[in-house]
């Protein structure tokens, strides 16, 4: 069948022919098949016209054609035929005119709030990603500055003095009042109990090795009350606030060392009292300004911490690292308000007055 259909490959045709030579009966049968040939009939369907639909305008499709005409859905030929039909139907013309009136005429209505819809161009420089880099860089600079500027805690004076005081269990503050002061106030003897190391009553929260600070002695103007010649302290010049008394771990306390001990306590309190009544953030600001920005402690306002302070610290850090001499200075008015900023370096100098 493939041979008769003409789809057999030449190789197979050659094989088929050789096979037919060997089998003449089959060759005869194949020749009989070849004689069967069906030619395609050339007959046509003559009634095509009856199937086709001509463009007709009548009352039933008039509305559709009116709208199609309005919408521009008619071809040029169809539109022409429709117009011709209309000319013959004056009543339909009036209807068509009504259809024409259904077309809406755009009104001039304006939206008066365009400005509220508009957007400002976003700066491509300061994208969130860039801000992220800035933040990371600033954090690193601050950390470096903190590392460089804050000195590590060493052996301070208080520790040295406290080390001289050894082997005692109490600190006695004896009273020796002058007649004048006796008249003004009663004499006092205050005993601050001392807990030996290992004592069960010893407070658990201790600080820095031997320097256990539990209560605080508030000494007001100790220089007045300190009588070095007698090695005593006039109690009427000392205000002991028991709930604030700090106890130092002292191994021995010869009587003559009391003054030294009290002096050391005084010094200790003078330093530590600076941070009294400050919360953590204020302490951090104060430390930052005193240690890094080298501001005078008495002038530091722990409630104020601005980006300028960070910038100042950054510049100082950079100076320290790479040896430049950039300066970032601030000017304040009498009320402590920042009024101007000045930046000075070998390359450029800037001065900026702050707007209030």
């Amino acid at each position: 069948m493939d041979y008769l259909d003409g789809i057999m490959s030449p190789d197979r045709v050659i094989k088929l022919m050789s096979f037919l030579k060997e089998n003449p009966d089959l060759k005869t049968e194949l020749e009989e098949f070849e004689e069967i040939n069906v030619d395609p009939d050339k007959k046509r369907f003559e009634s095509k016209r009856t199937l086709k639909k001509a463009f007709l305008v009548n009352d039933s499709n008039f509305d559709d054609l009116c709208i199609a005409s309005l919408e521009g859905d008619l071809t040029q030929e169809e539109a022409t035929l429709f117009q011709k039909w209309l000319q013959q139907k004056p009543l339909k013309v009036r209807e068509f005119e009504l259809y024409k009136k259904t077309r809406l005429i755009p009104e001039k209505i304006s939206f008066d709030f365009k400005s509220t819809l508009k957007r400002r161009p976003v700066s491509r420089i300061f994208t969130p990603k860039v801000w992220g880099y800035f933040s990371a860089a600033a954090s690193i600079i601050i950390l470096i500055a903190l590392y460089l500027f804050i000195s590590k805690p060493g052996v301070n004076e208080n520790t040295l003095i406290s080390e001289k005081i050894t082997d005692t269990t109490t600190i006695k503050i004896k009273s020796q009042t002058s007649p004048e002061s006796q008249a003004k106030t009663d004499t006092k003897e205050e005993i601050i109990p001392y807990n030996k190391p290992g004592d069960s009553k010893q407070p658990k929260n201790t600080a820095r090795g031997n320097a256990i600070v539990e209560k605080q002695v508030v000494v007001q103007d100790l220089s007045i009350g300190l009588d070095k010649s007698n090695h005593f302290i006039q109690p009427d010049t000392i205000e002991l606030t028991l709930n604030k008394i700090r106890r130092k771990e002292i191994n021995t306390l010869p009587e003559k060392s009391i003054i030294a001990a009290l002096v050391s306590i005084k010094d200790l309190e003078v330093v530590e009292n600076i941070n009294d009544n400050l919360d953590l953030s204020q302490m951090a600001v104060k430390t930052f300004k005193s240690e890094i920005l080298k501001e005078e402690k008495s002038k530091i306002n722990p409630d104020k911490f601005t980006l300028w302070d960070i910038a100042d610290a950054g510049i100082r850090g950079i100076n320290k690292i790479i040896g430049w001499e950039m300066e970032f200075n601030k000017e304040y008015d009498d009320e402590g308000e920042l009024i101007a900023l000045a930046f000075d370096s070998n390359a450029i100098s800037l001065y900026h007055t702050m707007n209030k």
Binding site: I67, L70, L98, Y99, L104, E107, F113, K114, R119, P121
Partner: protein, 161 residues
């Protein structure tokens, strides 16, 4: 779409979007809200919308926002609905446009929207289909039915006059 292109869209299309919504809702405040919402939506997707397709996007977003609003209002004011048709013939009409808009108000929302998109904005069936989400044949049917309704309304008014 850049910010400048977005702002140009505001200048070019906010009026037509506002008109389209206002004519549908007949409430200035609501129409303004829809316009605001629509442009807000476009701004959010500004990076993904080309300027050339902005107008189509705006009308589509505005249409769907409006439909949501209408559905919400329908739920709220279902029992207060007034049959305007009962009163329409007793009123005096100043001009054809006013009559036409009265007739327009009585169309179904879908018919009204597609006719306005067609007449005000000159959109093709396909464009209206893309904006509204209807098929092209649906759009065509809505326009045909809407026009027939408008024509009947105008015919009745003319007969009365």
């Amino acid at each position: 779409m850049t910010t400048a292109e977005y702002n140009k869209c505001v200048d070019d299309f906010s009026d037509s979007v506002y008109r389209f919504i206002l004519k549908n809702l007949r409430d200035e405040d609501k129409a303004k809200d829809v316009v605001q919402d629509t442009f807000e939506k476009m701004w959010i997707k500004a990076e993904n919308i080309s300027y050339l397709k902005a107008k189509s996007y705006l009308f589509s977003a505005a249409y769907h926002t409006m439909i949501d609003m209408i559905r919400k209002d329908k739920r709220q004011t279902h029992f207060d609905k007034v049959n305007q048709e009962d009163h329409s013939h007793n009123e005096q009409y100043s001009d054809l446009n006013e009559i036409l808009h009265r007739a327009l108000d009585q169309l179904a929302e879908d018919q009204r929207s597609v006719i306005m998109l067609r007449d005000y904005e000159g959109y093709s069936y396909r464009e209206i289909s893309q904006i509204t989400g209807f098929s092209e044949s649906q759009v065509k049917v809505y326009i045909y039915r809407g026009r027939q309704h408008l024509k009947k309304y105008l015919g009745r008014i003319e007969a009365l006059v």
